[in-house]
Each structure stands twice: as structure tokens, then as C-alpha cells.
């Protein structure tokens, strides 16, 4: 449910000037507590994002942002053995819905290549069962590399405890009209794409 780029049906952005990040003290606490858990090494950021992504779709769509954060975070505490689901529900005096279990991750793509700014690249048509930071709207699409970033942990592996090498990402420019032909406001759309997600276009 999290892969929302380009999905139709949502209405106007509920925009206000000086909009807040937090709306209640419990939200600040959730943010602090999950950050503590990352700092203590209980889980990493990739596992955290993936745990939120694994929420039951209807729960994901109806939960507020910090409830999603709370659910992903609690799921990882249970999966990492810090606490049981039963204990959480007993302490909370009620149901504590968690995310669905994960599946296996994957390591770096063996045939991954290096690219230079100006290279035309295609996003590989891979469908990854586990965590992936490729938004669906760029899958299979062609773009142009504009820059390279330093190597980062490969999310498809890091979210699952799979061994992998850190990979550079490439900022790739796409045309919105090629991403959604006939149905987009013209614009250049840039995404930071991991090396394993790309192949060269000859």
C-alpha cells in the first residue's frame, strides 16, 4: 500500500501554512522511541520502513502517520524478541495490531553496472517480493543519469538481514509524460535509484 506515487483517486493536499510535524504528545514519543531503538541497534532504518510497508493494507490506509510508525516499530520489537505480542496487548489493555510477516530479501544483482551522468538507463523490470526502494511508477521506464551518490546499504538486503555490499545510487531524470502517457502534468521527475535496479540502454 505504501507505493503511492502516481496512484489516482486522492484529493487535494490538505495544506496549511506553518503546518505541524506533530499533533499530539504521543506522536513525539513514538518518534523518539523508534529513534532510540535504531540508535541501540535493535533494528535499522530499512527494516523499519519495511515493517511499516508490511501493515495490513486497510490498516495502512486508515492509520495516521505516527500510528503507522508505531505499528512498524512494535512489529520489529516482537520479531526481534524484545517483547511478545501477548505482553504488549496485556500492557496496552487492548488489541495491538501488528504488521504481516516478512518474506526473504535479496542480495545485490550480480550483473549490476556503473553509470556516468548522461547515460540512458532503464529501470529493471524486477518484481521484488521483499523490501525495495524502487517506486512502481519507474519500473521498466527509461531515464537519464544526472548524478551519482555515495554507496548506501542495499535496502533489498538490509531490511532482511541478508549480506550485501553497499551500492551507489544514481539520480535519474524521467519525463512525467513518459511515466504516465496522456495523464500527467509535464515535469521532470527525479528518483535516486540503486545500482541494482538499473541496466544500461544501448
Amino acid at each position: 500500500m505504501h507505493d503511492l506515487g502516481g496512484r489516482q483517486g486522492f484529493g487535494p493536499v490538505r495544506y496549511t501554512l506553518s503546518a505541524r510535524a506533530f499533533h499530539a504528545p504521543w506522536e513525539v514519543r513514538v518518534n523518539s522511541l523508534y529513534a532510540l531503538a535504531v540508535r541501540l541497534g535493535i533494528f535499522n532504518m530499512d527494516e523499519y520502513r519495511h515493517a511499516i510497508e508490511r501493515m495490513e493494507p486497510r490498516h495502512y490506509l486508515t492509520a495516521s502517520y505516527y500510528e503507522r510508525s508505531l505499528t512498524g516499530f512494535a512489529t520489529l520489537l516482537v520479531e526481534k524478541g524484545v517483547v511478545t505480542h501477548e505482553e504488549l496487548e496485556a500492557r496496552a489493555h487492548g488489541g495491538f495490531p501488528l504488521s504481516a510477516p516478512s518474506v526473504a530479501g535479496r542480495t545485490n544483482v550480480a550483473s549490476r553496472q556503473h553509470f556516468q551522468p548522461g547515460d540512458r538507463v532503464r529501470v529493471r523490470a524486477d518484481h521484488v517480493p521483499g523490501h525495495v526502494r524502487m517506486p512502481g511508477y519507474i519500473r521498466g521506464k527509461v531515464g537519464v543519469v544526472v548524478s551519482e551518490s555515495p554507496a548506501y546499504p542495499f535496502p533489498d538486503a538490509a531490511a532482511h538481514g541478508v549480506k550485501a555490499q553497499d551500492e551507489p545510487t544514481y539520480d535519474v531524470r524521467f519525463s512525467s509524460e513518459e511515466l504516465w502517457p496522456g495523464s500527467a502534468d509535464p515535469a521532470s521527475i527525479y528518483a535516486a535509484v540503486f545500482q541494482s535496479y538499473l541496466e544500461r540502454v544501448i
Partner: protein
Amino acid sequence: MPDDNRVIQRTASVEDRVDAIQAVLDERGMKATEAVEELSHLAEDVWVPRNGARVVAKAWVDPAFRKRLLADGRAAVAELGLPMPKHHRHLVVLENTPTVQNVICCTQCSCTAFTIIGLPPDWYKDFEYRSRVVRESRTVLREMGLDLPPEVEIRVWDTTADTRYIVLPMQPPETIGWPEEKLVDIVTRDSMIGVARL
């Protein structure tokens, strides 16, 4: 019948769920309550848009700093005493011009250069912005109050990895010559996300 034994329980309130987690972590010796105080202070008082406003104001008055900022954002903001989290290894500063408007989003979650411009506002994390700003950029910006002339090219940056972005807004012409400290006060968080001009 299996269904006869099913117990449907009310979901605990979010506050009760957070209390449960905090109590568990405290009892496991993780000093959760102290961490809440420390990290809350960071989130509310230290990681604030004024950090980014200082970066923008300096870039406006100091062309050499502007050049360094555009070449290596992370190193340049460090000159102002603004560290970034270890995993934000690259800060790309996006320069707005009369013909280019950069806009930042995170369609998959909420990734933001939060130590520089503050934690993201609610609308940035909402499904409306996440789904529509990549596909209906000009329309969404207009709805949000930024009606761009047709000759302005829109560039939308989806924060899909650990690189973080901030927009360097154009300096309003009537403020040319203002002292740096006065310029800091006019730079808004939303202009550094790219959904507003100054």
C-alpha cells in the same frame, strides 16, 4: 465450531499502545524515558527550519559559499555547525531559478533532510501529496497556492534512497542588499521543500 472461540477485542488507544512500548523498553533497561526527553528536545528545538534558513541566507550573500553548497551540501552545512545523521551521506541542494522550480517529496514514506529543515509537515506525509505531486505537479502546486507561469519547468525529486535534498529558493529582488541576519527571518520551510516561493 472454531468461530465460537474467537474473541474480538477492542484495539487499544494509541496512547495506551505507546505507553506499553515505553514501559517495556524502560523495564529492559533501555532508559526509554530519558531518551524520549532527549530526542523530543532534538525533534522540537534543534532540528528546525531556521537551520536551513541560515544556509539559504548565507548562500544568498556569499557567492563562494553558494558554490560550495551546490558542490557538496553536507560539507557546506557542516560549516554552519549543522551535522547530519550518519545515514544521510549526501545532501543535494537544488537551485531554483526564474525558469526552474524544484519540488521535493517522498512518495513511499516521509524522507526529509530533517536536521536541516525540520521534521516534515503533516501534508508532506499525507497520501494526497505523496501520490499526486509526481503525476500532477503543476496542479498540486497551484492548489497549494503556487501558480507558476507556463515557462517555468517543474522538477520533482522523489527521495527514494539515503540522499537528502533541500531547495535553495530564489532571493526576492526587494531584499537584495539586506544583511544576512535579516534574510534568515524570511526563509520559510515550505520554500525549502519547494512548494512555495518567497
